[in-house]
C-alpha cells in the first residue's frame, strides 16, 4: 500500500455518508452566518464528530450521552433565541437536531431520514435569502444530497464516486422540465402561505419615518436598488420623475416627522380635491424589501395597490411592512391639482416650534411683505436661494443649536433635506401652508432592457406648498441652485440633467463597468420577476398572455391544474416514447416482434422472460410452468430459433411463427 493512512481511511469510508456530510455542511453554511454561536458551535462539532466517525477515528456517543446532548441542544436553542418557535429559533432547532441525528445514523432508515431533512434545511435557507446566488448555491447542495441518495442506494463496491455525482446531475437535469412545469403552472395561493415571523426584520435600507439633517445624504453613496419600474406608457419627462414617499408635517426644530396617528384617506380618485389633466402614466413597480410600510409611486398616484391604503397626505401605506419583494401596478397623473379651493387641517401645515429659527422667521416675514401674494413669495424665496451663495454638498457641516438659522445664514452648505427643511420653515413662518416630501427623484433606464431603475442614491427631499386657488404645488428648492455651486458631479447630473450632458465623457473602463452593472441588474430583475415574485397575479397574467395567443381567455386554478396534469402527462409521454422508441420496431426483425408478442402474452400470466434469458432457457422454464402448453411453447421457440439464428430463415417459417403466436393462448 503506497497510500497514506488518511487516504486509505477516506477510501474505506462509506461514500454515501461522506457525500451526505458534505451536502449538509454546505446546506448549513448560510445559516451559520445568521444563527447564534450557541447553535452553530455544537452543530459544527457534531458534524466533525460524524466525519471523524466515518474515518474511524472516533466512536459515536452512547445512548445516554445522546439523550443528554438532545436536551442540551434544545436548551441551547432556547437560551440563544429565548423561544423554540419562530423562524430563527425553528431553523436553529432543526439544524442542531439534524446534527444530533447524525450521532445515531446507523440503519438505512436513518440515512433516508437525514437526507430528507437535509432537503428541508435547503428550503429553510430560502426563508432568509431568495437571491439568485443562493438559488444557484442551493442547487449545488441539492446535487450533493441527491448524490448521497444515489450512492446510498447503489452497490458501492463497483461504482466509482464521480459516476454517482454525474448520475445526480443527470437526474436533476431530467427533473428540470417537470420542475419548471410545476413552478409555472401549480396554482399560486394568494398572499403568503405562511406569514413571515416578525423576527425577520433586519435593518432596512431606505427612507426613514423621520427626516433630520444628514438622513438622506447618507443614502447618496448607496447604489443599491430601491425599486424597479416597468412603464406601460411613455416615460414621463425628467422633471416629472418624482417618486413620492413619506410626507412630513411636524417639525421640532431639528427633525421632521409625519402626523401621528396617520390620518387616513378612504376614498381616492372620486375626490373633488383631486383634479387631473393629461394622460396617466401606467407602470408596475417592483419594490425591494425595505422593512417599512411606504410604497412609492409617481407624483401623484391615482389608484392604490391591493393590501394598502392612502394617507391624507397622499402617501401609499402598505398594511404590512415590506419584508419581501413587492410588485404592484400603478397609475399616476403627473399633471394634477390637489385641494384647489379648500385645505382641511390647515393648522397642521403651519405648525412651527416656537423657539427655533428667529432669524429665519424675521427674514420670511420681511420678504412676505414685499411679495404680492403667496406664489410671488415662493418665487422670491427661490430667487433668494439661487442668488445667495448656497452650495449643494454631500458633506454638509454639522449644525448644532438651531439648524434652520445656522443653515440659512451661517453655513449655507447643505443637502436636499437641508433645503427642503429650510424652505418649508420659511413658508410656514410667512403663513403659507407647506410640507416636506421625501422619496426618490429621477432614476435611469436599463439600456439593456425595458425597465427603469431607481436606486437609494436617488433618494431626495422636496416640498409642497399650498396656494389658494391653485392647490398643492410641488416646489423643489434644490433645483434652483446654479450648476457652479453643486459640488458633486452625480448630483449635478441628477438635479440638472441637461447640464450633465456636457460633462466629460466617462472613461471606457467606467463604461464597461456600467454596462456590466446594468447587465447584472437585468438578471436580478428577471429573477425577481419570474422566480421570487411569481405570485398569483403574475401567474395569471403570464398564463393568460400565453393562452390569449392560442385563443383562450383568463384562466382559473382548476384550469391551471388541468393544464398542469396535461403538461406532466405530455412530458411523461415524451419520456415514454423515447424509452420505448416504437419507431425502432420497424427496423426490428419481424420474427423478433412476433416473439416479443409471445413473451408479452406469457408475462401477463406472470411468466416474465428476463432480458438476458435465451429463448431455449425461457422455453424450458415456461414449459415447466405450463406443461399443457409446453408443446406450443416449444414449437414457437423452435420456429423463432430457426428464423432468427439458423442459416436458413424462410418466409414460410416466419408466417408459421406469426400464425402460431397469434393463436397462442394460455
Amino acid at each position: 500500500m503506497n497510500m497514506s493512512g488518511f487516504q486509505q481511511r477516506v477510501k474505506q469510508a462509506k461514500a454515501e455518508n461522506l457525500w451526505l456530510l458534505a451536502g449538509l455542511a454546505l446546506a448549513f453554511t448560510p445559516h451559520f452566518f445568521r444563527l447564534s454561536l450557541l447553535v452553530i458551535l455544537p452543530s459544527i462539532i457534531l458534524l466533525c464528530w460524524r466525519l471523524l466517525f466515518e474515518l474511524r477515528y472516533l466512536a459515536l456517543p452512547s445512548r445516554t450521552v445522546r439523550w443528554l446532548l438532545t436536551f442540551a441542544g434544545i436548551f441551547a436553542t432556547w437560551i440563544a433565541f429565548g423561544t423554540l418557535m419562530g423562524r430563527q429559533a425553528g431553523v436553529g432547532l432543526l439544524v442542531i437536531m439534524l446534527c444530533l441525528k447524525l450521532m445515531e445514523m446507523n440503519a438505512q432508515r436513518d440515512v433516508g431520514v437525514v437526507i430528507g431533512l437535509g432537503f428541508f434545511v435547503v428550503i429553510t435557507v430560502f426563508l432568509f435569502d431568495q437571491s439568485i446566488f443562493m438559488g444557484i448555491y442551493m442547487l449545488l447542495v441539492v446535487t450533493l444530497l441527491v448524490t448521497a441518495l444515489i450512492a446510498f442506494s447503489r452497490d458501492q463496491s463497483v461504482i466509482p464516486q464521480w459516476a454517482n455525482l454525474q448520475k445526480a446531475g443527470i437526474i436533476l437535469a431530467q427533473a428540470l422540465p417537470l420542475a419548471l412545469l410545476l413552478f409555472f403552472l401549480f396554482p399560486r395561493i394568494p398572499g403568503p402561505l405562511w406569514s413571515l415571523p416578525t423576527d425577520g426584520a433586519g435593518a432596512g435600507t431606505g427612507l426613514s419615518d423621520s427626516m433630520s439633517p444628514g438622513n438622506i445624504s447618507q443614502l447618496s453613496d448607496n447604489d443599491s436598488v430601491a425599486f424597479r419600474v416597468q412603464f406601460d406608457t411613455a416615460l414621463p419627462p425628467p422633471q416629472k420623475r418624482y417618486w413620492r414617499g413619506p410626507v412630513f408635517t411636524q417639525f421640532d426644530g431639528r427633525t421632521w416627522s409625519g402626523p401621528y396617528p396617520q390620518r387616513l384617506k378612504n376614498h381616492l380618485s372620486i375626490d373633488s380635491h383631486y383634479q387631473v389633466s393629461g394622460e396617466p402614466s401606467l407602470y408596475t413597480v417592483t419594490l425591494e424589501p425595505h422593512q417599512r410600510r411606504w410604497l412609492f409611486a409617481l407624483d401623484l398616484p391615482a389608484i392604490i395597490p391591493a393590501d394598502s391604503h392612502l394617507s391624507a397626505d397622499y402617501e401609499i401605506i402598505a398594511n404590512h411592512p415590506v419584508r419581501q419583494l413587492v410588485r404592484y401596478s400603478m397609475r399616476s397623473f403627473t399633471n394634477y391639482q390637489l385641494a384647489k379651493n379648500d385645505l382641511p387641517d390647515i393648522s397642521l401645515y403651519l405648525q412651527l416650534p416656537t423657539e427655533s429659527g428667529p432669524r429665519a422667521r424675521k427674514l420670511a416675514q420681511q420678504l412676505r411683505q414685499n411679495a404680492a401674494d403667496d406664489a410671488d413669495f415662493v418665487q422670491i424665496i427661490l430667487n433668494y436661494i439661487a442668488e445667495q451663495p448656497f452650495y449643494y454638498t454631500r458633506q454638509p457641516p454639522l449644525l448644532l443649536d438651531d439648524p434652520v438659522d445656522e443653515f440659512l445664514f451661517d453655513r449655507r452648505r447643505g443637502f436636499c433635506e437641508h433645503y427642503a427643511s429650510a424652505f418649508v420653515f420659511l413658508m410656514r413662518a410667512a403663513g403659507v401652508p407647506a410640507r416636506v416630501v421625501t422619496g426618490y427623484q429621477g432614476g435611469e433606464m436599463n439600456p439593456q432592457s425595458d425597465y427603469f431603475i431607481v436606486r437609494q442614491s436617488d433618494a431626495h427631499a422636496w416640498t409642497e406648498v399650498w396656494l389658494r386657488e391653485k392647490g398643492w404645488r410641488r416646489i423643489d428648492p434644490t433645483a434652483v441652485i446654479p450648476a457652479g455651486r453643486i459640488e458633486n458631479q452625480q448630483d449635478l447630473a441628477r438635479i440638472l440633467p441637461e447640464m450633465a450632458e456636457t460633462g466629460a465623457t466617462p472613461s471606457w473602463l467606467k463604461k464597461i463597468g456600467r454596462q456590466l452593472n446594468f447587465g447584472w441588474d437585468r438578471i436580478n430583475h428577471a429573477w425577481n420577476q419570474w422566480v421570487v415574485n411569481y405570485n398569483t397575479q403574475r401567474q395569471q397574467d403570464f398564463l393568460s398572455q400565453i393562452l390569449a395567443n392560442v385563443g383562450f381567455g383568463n384562466i382559473d386554478w382548476q384550469e391551471m391544474i388541468s393544464l398542469l396534469v396535461a403538461g406532466m402527462t405530455l412530458v411523461m409521454a415524451v419520456v415514454a416514447v423515447y424509452l420505448l422508441r416504437p419507431w425502432n420496431r420497424r427496423n426490428q426483425d419481424p420474427a423478433q416482434v412476433a416473439y416479443g408478442r409471445f413473451c408479452q402474452r406469457l408475462s401477463r400470466h406472470g411468466m416474465q422472460r428476463q432480458p438476458t434469458e435465451g429463448p431455449l432457457d425461457f422455453a424450458r422454464r415456461a414449459g415447466q410452468q405450463y406443461p399443457q402448453r409446453a408443446r406450443d411453447i416449444s414449437r414457437i421457440t423452435a420456429l423463432y430459433e430457426r428464423q432468427r439464428y439458423s442459416p436458413y430463415p424462410t418466409h414460410k417459417n416466419l408466417q408459421q411463427l406469426q400464425h402460431a403466436v397469434r393463436n397462442f393462448t394460455l
Binding site: 477510501k11 463496491s157 463497483v158 461504482i159 466509482p160 459516476a163 426483425d589 423478433q592 432480458p611 438476458t612 434469458e613 435465451g614 429463448p615 431455449l616 432457457d617 422455453a619 424450458r620 414449459g623 416449444s634 414449437r635 421457440t637 423452435a638 420456429l639 430459433e641 430457426r642 432468427r644 439464428y645 439458423s646 442459416p647 408459421q656
Partner: protein, 355 residues
Amino acid sequence: MARITTWPWRKQGVQSDLNLNRYGYMRIPHTSTLSQARRPFVAINTMQNIELTKQLDAIVAHASQVILGKQHEIRLSLACLLARGHLLIEDLPGVGKTTLAHVLAQTLGLQYQRIQFTSDLLPADILGVSIFDKSEQGFHFHPGPIFAQLILADEVNRATPKAQSALLEAMEEGQVTIEGQTRPLPEPFFVIATQNPTYQIGTFPLPESQLDRFLMRISLGYPDTSAERALLSGDDRREMLRQHDACIQPGQLAELQQAASKIHVADALLDYVQALLDLSRRSPQFTHGLSPRAGLALLRGAKAWALMAGRRHAMPEDVQTVMPHVVGHRLQAVAESGQQSSNALLALLKDVAIP
C-alpha cells in the same frame, strides 16, 4: 442420407423412423448423459451432424464413466478441443485434472504426453534436443514430449517463465523451432495445462498475455457426494483408463473440428456478442475490456458448444454457457472493487439483454 436405426431412445416406444413431430422438429429426450446439455429441442439437421453429435455424446459418456460427476467440465473441455483451442485447468491437486487429460486423450485416440513442470525445467526438456550420435557421426534430433497430439502440461505455473514460454510459443504457432530448424507439431495439437491456484507457494503465475493463449479456463472442483461415493467405492481409475478404447476413428476428430467451425452464426448472435464485448469495455468493474481475440474465442467456443448440442447454429445460450470459461481468465476485476472476477462476470451477463 443414412437411415438412423440405432438410437437408444427408440426403445422408448417411438414408432416412426425419425422422432419428428408434425412441424418437422425432432425431440431429443432428456437422458442422463445429456442432463447438462442445453438442448431441449433441436432443429432437424443434416444426418451428418446428428451422427457427429452422437459421437460426441458417446465420448462424453465414456469419459464420464471415469471422471464422475464432472460431465459439464468434460463437455467444456471437449468443446475447447473441437474449437481448436487449448485448455487451462486451474484447481487444487487431486481433483482429477490429470485424469481428465488422460481420458480425453484415450477416448479421442490421441497420442498423449505428459510434461511435469518444475522449477528447473528447461525449454529443451519440452522441445527436444540434438545429440551427437557417434555411430552416425552427426547430430540426431531427439524430439521432446511436445511432439504429441495431446499434451498435459502439469502444474505449468511451477516452471520458470522461460520454460513456460517455450510451451506457449508452440501452442501459438503449431510448430517449434529448434536449433534453427522449424519442425511442425502433429495435428491435432491440443494442450491441457493445469495450474495450481496462484496463492500456493513457489509458483510463477502465467502473465495475462500468455493466459490469452488458452481458449478456456475451467476448474473441476470437488465432486458432489454421490459422485464421490461412487468414486470411492468403484474401481481403480488407472485401471479403468487402461481398459478404455478410443470412441472415434483417427481423422474423425478433424472432421468434428471442421464441423464446429462451420456452425452458423446469425447476425442476431453477433449483435449479442458485440454487446457483451462492448459492455466489458465500458464497465468500470474491469481494468480493461475484452480484446477482439477474446471475441473470436467466445464465438469459437459457442460454435463448438452448439455442435455438441446438435445444432447447426449457435444460440445465445451457447455463448452464455461458454462465456465464463472463455472470458474468465481474460478479464481482471478492478482491484478496489473487492469483488471476485467471477461475480463481476455474472454481472456482465446479467447486464446485457439478448437483442
